[in-house]
């Protein structure tokens, strides 16, 4: 099986993830979709690694997973903090940074 199929799946997952990030208003769903985009990237990395017969891409994928885990921790922490303060958990309502 050529690399094209892997890349096609990866691109599809990435597009789904981006679509979710752009359309959803709940931050938890946005985080989920972000994970999708990251994993789409991972899939592409692993596919390339296999194509070249080189383990570098796989190591890269592992690092991305670690970073993604950290990012989710922070993101979820923020959402919990939002909830505790009684703020609405909706990214369209959180617009204090408006200039």
């Amino acid at each position: 099986m050529g690399i094209a199929w892997y890349l096609a799946v990866s691109a599809l997952i990435f597009a789904i993830g981006i679509g979710g990030v752009l359309t959803k208003r709940n931050p938890i769903v946005i985080l989920l979709c972000l994970e999708l985009t990251l994993n789409a990237g991972n899939l592409a990395l692993v596919a390339f690694a296999r194509m070249w017969g080189n383990a570098d891409g796989q190591i890269f994928a592992l690092i991305v997973m670690v970073v993604a885990a950290c990012e989710v921790t922070v993101g979820l922490g923020l959402i919990v903090a939002l909830h505790r303060r009684g703020l609405k958990v909706d990214v369209d309502e959180l617009e204090e940074l408006r200039g």
Partner: protein
């Protein structure tokens, strides 16, 4: 320790004192700052003493040399090192500066004891001593100018020390502005000399000066006249003198140190230091002598009518510096320096004693309100008498020898110098009169209320705080005296410093007894190798010694007759000579003239410029234009920041997609 080390230590101690006191302000409680400051200057004095002794051990031809510490600015045409010039002239100055400063610091520890700015005061005072020593020891024009500027700054800080007092801050600004005029003169003069001789080193440029300058040529005369402007502004000579009487707004130790003993004599030192240049430019030197002579007469006439105790002494300082300037300008360098030394002693003494009277009067300085302090303050009275006799030139006090030395040097040159000689004696007569007018009015006659209360053992404290200058009520507790204050003669440290100065003012003349020792002449000789040889006239010397004493005594007798024997005489003289009185009381209208010629036109130009150029071009076009530009563009950028997270993400996605597409299509 070598002589180099000790010479640098002279500079290092006051600097260390300044930094320690300034930074240690939170921990220096009580009188620690005063002790530290006094100690720093005392150590500096000891270093100066050791340096001086070591210098005397060297052979005479190597008693003038330069020590460098590091490079300051070195380029192809300029080689300025941080270096000091050690020679007898500098030694005399550093000994006087550090010695008198030590005593005045000691006096100030008591005088300023109840002041809230005690620590600040000693930091400033140490800073001043450092600047003055740097000016005196500088071996090149650069550091001379730096020291010259720093003493002006220190003087400004100390005059306006009581910064909530309007009159004091105004006086500080006035002193600073006039000093800056002098600084400009000094810098321009130095540039002319550096430009022609090609070196910033003092000794180097002196050595080259005779080759590059024609004798009495335009360039060197212009350069020396500009140097004179600097000297006159610093030394309060006509017409740059108006700042000195106003500088009396500063605390009395400041008046004693800066405006009597040290800083104001910097002009005399400058001319003595630059003597090889002034000898090539006799026109400039003669101008200086005439101005010095004018100043000594003008200041003496004003001192006769001024009623502020400290201002009388200030005008007297101007007058005495006039003598010194006259001496160094006609070539009597040792005579000028001799008077500088003795004047530092007796004038600092007079200021300290005046400070004692001012404390007894609870800050009041008006002679009209004083009287009869003789019994209540015997030590102050004695100090005033000693200082007054030295100032009036009565043998065997120090001022007698130094003033006669100056007048002898001037008179022995003959020709038009006879006019200076006669004016000098006229000034001496006036000096004796105004000195003893001040003493008789403050210490004799009916005791005033404050004197009476002091006699019965109570120090007079003013119920309300008033500015001694204009009498306005002060609510800020800034200014002398604080809630409680000391009387100098009843506080150990202050009494000791007054006593030591009184001894010095009495016996200071021994360093240069005419015909017996000529000690200072010989000591200073290595600094003035190649200076012109002055004519001698033995008969004139003897005549001067006798005549000077007679003039001084007759001046005192006149003062005694006017203010003690027939108390109403001064009022009668005033009525007989209304024009002269008006001229003297208004200080020869110098302030008014300077106001009309310089201050008012410049203020008018400034206001015109503000109305036209400033308002129209700067305010509306440049400031307003750039302001509205920033406002408009920032509004545009701000509207992009809408706070919508999804909008930002969309921008990122679209942006990266476009960039990626661009690169894909490129390849």
């Amino acid at each position: 320790m070598s002589i180099n080390t000790t010479a640098w230590l002279v500079l290092a101690f006051p600097l260390a004192g300044t930094i320690l006191i300034a930074l240690g302000r939170p921990v220096l409680s009580g009188r620690k700052a005063g002790v530290l400051g006094t100690l720093a200057i005392f150590l500096s004095f000891l270093s100066a003493l050791v340096t001086c002794l070591k210098l005397e051990d060297r052979p005479e031809e190597s008693r003038q040399f330069v020590v460098s510490l590091w490079d300051y600015a070195v380029t192809s045409d300029l080689n300025a090192k941080f270096s000091i010039l050690i020679d007898p002239l500098a030694m005399v100055m550093i000994l006087v500066v550090t010695g008198v400063s030590t005593l005045i610091h000691l006096y100030a520890t008591g005088y300023m004891a109840s002041d809230k700015g005690y620590v600040r005061f000693f930091a400033y005072l140490n800073f001043f001593v450092f600047s003055m020593l740097m000016l005196v020891l500088a071996a090149n024009f650069i550091f001379l100018i730096i020291g010259w500027g720093l003493v002006g700054a220190a003087s400004y800080l100390l005059i306006s020390f009581w910064y909530r007092r309007k009159t004091a801050t105004k006086a500080g600004i006035k002193a600073f502005v006039i000093n800056v005029v002098g600084d400009v003169g000094l810098v321009l003069g130095a540039i002319i000399i550096i430009n022609q001789t090609g070196t910033v080193d003092l000794l180097g440029s002196f050595a080259k000066a005779p080759q590059v300058f024609s004798h009495d040529g335009t360039t060197i005369v212009a350069g020396c006249l500009l140097l004179l402007v600097g000297a006159f502004a610093k030394s309060a000579q006509v017409p740059f003198h108006t700042w000195l009487p106003d500088a009396m707004e500063g605390p009395t130790p400041v008046s004693a140190l800066i405006h009597a003993a040290t800083m104001v004599t910097a002009g005399v030192y400058l001319i003595a230091r630059m003597h090889p240049l002034f000898e090539i430019a006799p026109t400039a030197a003669n101008t200086g002598a005439v101005i010095g002579c004018l100043t000594l007469v003008i200041a003496a006439t004003i001192a006769i009518v001024v009623t502020d105790l400290k201002r009388v002494i200030a005008y007297s300082t101007m007058s005495q510096i006039g003598y010194m300037i006259m001496a160094v300008c006609v070539g009597g360098y040792a005579a000028g320096m001799f008077h500088l030394i003795t004047h530092a002693f007796f004038k600092a003494l007079l200021f300290m004693a005046a400070g004692s009277v001012i404390s007894a009067m609870a800050g009041e300085q008006n002679l009209n309100r004083m009287g009869g302090f003789r019994k209540s303050m015997p030590i102050t009275y004695a100090c005033f008498i000693v200082g007054g006799l030295a100032l009036s030139g009565i043998p065997p006090f120090s001022g007698y020898f130094s003033k006669d030395d100056i007048l002898y040097v001037v008179g022995a040159q003959g020709g038009w110098h006879w006019a200076l000689y006669a004016a000098g004696y006229a000034g001496a007569l006036l000096t004796a009169i105004y000195t003893f007018r001040m003493i008789f009015r403050a210490f004799h006659g009916e005791p005033c209320e404050e004197a009476k209360s002091l006699e019965s053992g109570r120090i007079f404290h003013a119920e309300e705080h008033r500015n001694p200058g204009d009498g306005t009520l002060e609510t800020t507790e800034v200014g002398y005296p604080g809630a409680k204050h000391h009387i100098a003669e009843r506080t150990a440290g202050m009494a000791i410093s007054m006593f030591l100065l009184a001894v010095l003012a009495t016996v200071g003349g021994v360093i240069q007894l005419p015909d017996v020792s000529w000690g200072l002449d010989r000591f200073l000789e290595p600094s003035f190798v190649g200076a012109k040889v002055l004519p001698t006239n033995h008969a004139l010397e003897i005549f001067g010694l006798v005549f000077g004493a007679l003039i001084g005594l007759s001046g005192i007798a006149t003062a005694w007759f006017i203010w003690i024997k027939r108390p109403g005489t001064s009022a009668r003289i005033e009525q007989r000579l209304p024009a002269a009185h008006r001229l003297f009381v208004n200080k020869w209208f110098f302030d008014e003239a300077i106001n009309a010629v310089f201050v008012k036109p410049f203020a008018a130009i400034g206001r015109f410029g503000e109305r036209t150029f400033d308002r129209v071009v700067i305010d509306s076009a440049i400031t307003g234009g750039s302001l509205s530009l920033v406002r408009i563009s920032s509004a545009a950028v701000r509207s992009l920041q809408n706070g919508m997270l999804r909008g930002y993400i969309a921008a990122v996605v679209v942006g990266t997609t476009l960039v990626t597409l661009y690169f894909l299509l490129q390849s």
